[in-house]
């Protein structure tokens, strides 16, 4: 740590910091466009020009003669940074006037309005009017730039963050600067649009409204969006995200910076993969197939899950509780609960402790772990080859579920081992409690046969499946956006996710269902449960703190793993 003085406020800064980061620590913003923490420094937007000097051994301060870019200038002991001098302010005003020279000022129809750095900086550092008397340069919009990306060329400030992203992070190099001087534009080569699996990040990186997501385009003004901090459940990387919703509808996911998890970015699979939560085929109502029949006389015909057949939650849950009790009493070792790797720690814990609490001879198993291909590493080489070890900047993992490690830890605690539900033989148990929560068809043949047609089948899921079709009790559960809880990613990082919307119709978040089923009093409270789990399960003791912070906490067992963002 070195001591740095920013506008007369002294702070301790990392010697690796640049002036922007050091000033941030002192509470001062140095405006910038081209600089981004995870991209190379080009120092070309010239928005971050500040006065920098050093403290001489005799205590006097010698300021440099010129303004220097805060992004490019390293700090050392005694560095003095001035961000608010008249010289700095005049330069900032001029730079903003120049940046807005050919900008169309079409904020009223621009998606970025409200989260645009041209707007924000102009309010804070700019001036109200432009002295340009001549016509602005007009440029063609480029909808062809990518399947999911549109370029509003005349809004661009040429920070080249997007270009550097495709060169340095995705390694796919689709985006280029073409032409020269004030005529230059971002573009792609013919027939090679920016469609790589990380392409959506260039929209987030764009500090202005030039690159927009076609998926979100003109759907919602950003100031109506409410943001919930969450975790992407698309793969075991567990990217930290923001879920942006309005009136119970999720409009977009955005990566949330987390050096412990994935860095600054997320993949398109995760980014656009949330649509299923608003699918009309969701299970929306709890359902009893045959409330009066006893467990030996299952009715073969299934009932459609529309409102007319909905049963009220209290009826369904008390019936479920009753039948679980009976089934376990009749055949304790024939009762199998399937915990899904989509579940949060809290949900897995609630279900496991409830079932084991009735009889320890019951069996807890792990549901299918979806795997697709192999880990996809970035940046890609020129021929699409994966990067060398140690050069990896982003990984889309083959394991397409968020919490296998966490659920396994719960299983190890209650069951002493992790048994795969699929590995149980045909019709291997008399009663099943199966939890799903997957975004797509997940019941494989092995699981289907293992479950068979038992005397009791309870399914807690979000979509209909072969199992829910023949279930005795269906519990309509919540998707990731509707649940609150903790996920443990591939590197043992436990992160808290917050609910952003309500489940559709009568469906309920899994935690709420399980609290009531287990007869626990009070509302579902992830924080309280984390404390409980942390004290009960040694492997998960790290989450006993309750509040996991923005970046999450590492489980002790994985403390020596490399930081996930780099592996």
């Amino acid at each position: 740590m070195v001591k740095v003085k920013v506008n007369d406020i002294e702070v301790d800064a990392d010697p690796k910091d640049n002036c922007i980061l050091a000033a941030r620590k002192a509470g001062f913003e140095i405006p910038h466009y081209c600089w981004h923490e995870s991209l190379s420094v080009v120092a070309s937007c010239r928005m971050c020009l500040v006065e920098v000097g050093e403290t001489k051994p005799d205590g006097t301060v010698a300021m440099g003669p010129k303004l220097v870019p805060g992004c490019q200038t390293p700090i050392k002991e005694g560095t003095v940074i001035r961000t608010e001098s008249a010289k700095v302010k005049t330069t900032q005003q001029m730079t903003l006037e120049l940046l807005l020279l050919n900008h169309p000022l079409d904020c009223s129809i621009c998606d970025q309005a409200g989260e645009c750095y041209l707007q924000d900086y102009t309010y804070k550092y700019g001036k109200a009017h432009s002295r340009l008397d001549e016509p602005k340069i007009q440029r063609e919009d480029k909808y062809h730039i990518g399947e999911q990306i549109a370029l509003f060329t005349d809004r661009c400030v040429m920070c080249t963050r997007c270009v550097r992203f495709t060169r340095e992070i995705s390694g796919t190099s689709e985006l280029q600067v073409v032409a020269r001087g004030s005529h230059e534009e971002i573009d792609v080569f013919p027939e090679t649009p920016c469609n790589n699996k990380l392409a959506g990040n260039v929209v987030d990186l764009c500090p202005v409204g030039a690159l927009c997501s076609k998926d979100f385009l003109y759907k919602k003004r950003v100031w109506w969006l409410k943001h919930a901090e969450s975790v992407c459940t698309g793969c075991s990387t567990g990217c930290s995200i923001h879920v942006d919703q309005n009136e119970n509808k999720v409009y977009r996911l955005r990566p949330r910076e987390n050096p412990q998890a994935q860095g600054h970015f997320m993949c398109d699979e995760g980014r656009y993969g949330f649509k299923y939560i608003h699918d009309d085929r969701r299970l929306k109502y709890p359902r009893l197939k045959n409330p009066s029949a006893n467990s030996n006389t299952a009715v073969a015909s299934s009932r459609p899950s529309d409102l007319s057949f909905a049963d009220p939650w209290p009826t369904v849950l008390s019936e479920a509780r009753k039948r679980i009790q009976t089934a376990i009493q009749n055949d304790p070792s024939g009762f199998v609960a399937v915990l899904s790797p989509q579940m949060t720690l809290e949900e897995a814990y609630l279900l496991a402790s409830y079932i084991k609490g009735i009889d320890p001879r019951t069996k807890l198993t792990l549901g299918p772990v979806p795997v697709s291909g192999s880990d996809d590493l970035y940046p890609k080489g020129p021929k699409g080859e994966p990067p060398a070890a140690g050069k990896v900047k982003f990984t889309i993992r083959a394991e397409k579920c968020p919490n296998r490690l966490g659920v396994e830890a719960v299983l190890r605690h209650f069951e002493r081992s992790v048994i795969l539900a699929e590995s149980l033989g045909k019709s291997s148990a008399s009663a099943w409690y199966v939890v799903g929560g997957y975004s797509a068809g997940w019941v494989n043949e092995k699981l289907d046969q293992a479950v068979g047609t038992p005397s009791l089948l309870i399914v807690q899921d979000i979509f209909p499946s072969p199992l829910s079709e023949r279930a005795d009790i269906v519990l309509a559960a919540g998707s990731f956006a509707e649940r609150e809880g903790t996920y443990v990613n591939h590197a043992g990082l436990a992160q808290a996710a917050h609910a952003s919307i309500r489940p559709p119709e009568e469906a309920r978040a899994d935690g709420r269902i399980l609290m009531e089923l287990a007869g626990r009093t009070g509302l579902f409270n992830a924080m309280a449960l984390r404390k409980e789990i942390g004290t009960k399960i040694a492997e998960l003791s790290a989450i006993a703190v309750g509040e996991l912070g923005d970046y999450g906490v590492r489980l002790a067992k994985y403390a020596n793993q490399p930081v996930a963002a780099k592996s």
Binding site: S44, M94, G181, S182, E184
Partner: protein, 444 residues
Amino acid sequence: MSQTEFKPVLLGRVGRPDSQSLASYRADGGYEALAKALKMANTEVIDVVKNSGLRGRGGAGFPTGLKWTFLPKDVNGPIYLCINGDESEPGTFNNRVLIEEDPHQVLEGIVISSFATRSTTAYFYLRYEYGRCYRTLQKAVDEMYANNLLGKNILGSGYDLDIYLHRGACAYICGEETGLIESLEGKRAWPRIKPPFPAIEGAFRRPTVVNNVETMACIPHILKHGTEWFQSMGIPKDPNNPRDAGSYGPKLYCISGHVNKPGLVELPMGITARDLIDKHGGGVWKGRQAKAVIPGGLSMGFMTNAELDTPLDFNGPGRVGCLGLGTAAVVVIDDHTSMVDVLYNACRFFAHESCGQCTPCREGTAWSTKILERIRDGRGKLSDIDLLLEIANSIGTIPGTTICGLADGAAWPIKTGINKFRGEFEEYIKSGRRSQSHALAGAH
């Protein structure tokens, strides 16, 4: 040494029959300096160049020997020498004559400099428009390979060197040393941020020296005749200014514009602009007076007629508000020419050539061009003059707002043009007349 008895050094062989051939160059004592240098230690060669006071001829006038000493002491792997033959400063054509007429003189300098800097590869970056230069050079390089002056074990010294000719693609910015390096690497010629300087991390991320063609042409003569001979020409150090490195040696002055006899002359450093125009350029044409003179390429700004007695050494133009000596390309503008037209043309050039990386230069050069376009169209406002000055003052490295010096070059003609000819601009705007010079109009 007075100017009258000065015998051209760099242009000494220009005009002789067959001056491009290796045989004729050797007959005139060519490659003797190389043989001499190869017998010395490379550090001794650096010392000779350093002691000679040779300053880079590309424009900035940085001491050449000092630049070479910035290379790291212990280097594993290659060091590169890049020759900047991207001569694109408006008004400049000395490299062209040197290469076309006496390529071996330049190439000898390159081999000596490569030896001194421990480079085993030299890249000759040549602007694309210089087709004849390219062919002449390639022929000369081939001759050298055939005669053991390039390749392995040059002249039996154990020193190896390869020279590659690289043709640019017609961009002014490739003359900026890090822009040149990027272009050489096959990238967009966007100047790099410094540090690291090229001496530490240059072409292909290796230690690199970038030198101008005329600088290279001086090297064999310094080796041959010694530092005292070199320092007998030019303007010595200013004893009152410890930072002055002196302006020694012969210099090629390009004379163009409204003169009777445009051309290239070689003189010891320090001739005044007036002498240069009157004695060597045949005076201002059509019996007119010079209104303004560009001392060293467009980016250096303008001198007025009253300032023409300024010596054209490394310090002279700076004393009258110009950016520096630049490439010593003197462009004369007669008193029948409108400074508004001249400035418009200058701004149009820089707006066209701005690489577009830094905001102030990219937008500022284009904006000032638009303003001047409007003034020339008779729609100027008096406030435009101050606006132009404000734009000029807020771009460039000297206020610290851009990566490279192109923006300074773009700003200086505006600053000097308006400050020195403000009355003319005001009068022009007030009259509301439209420019008569249609030759300059058109899309940029």
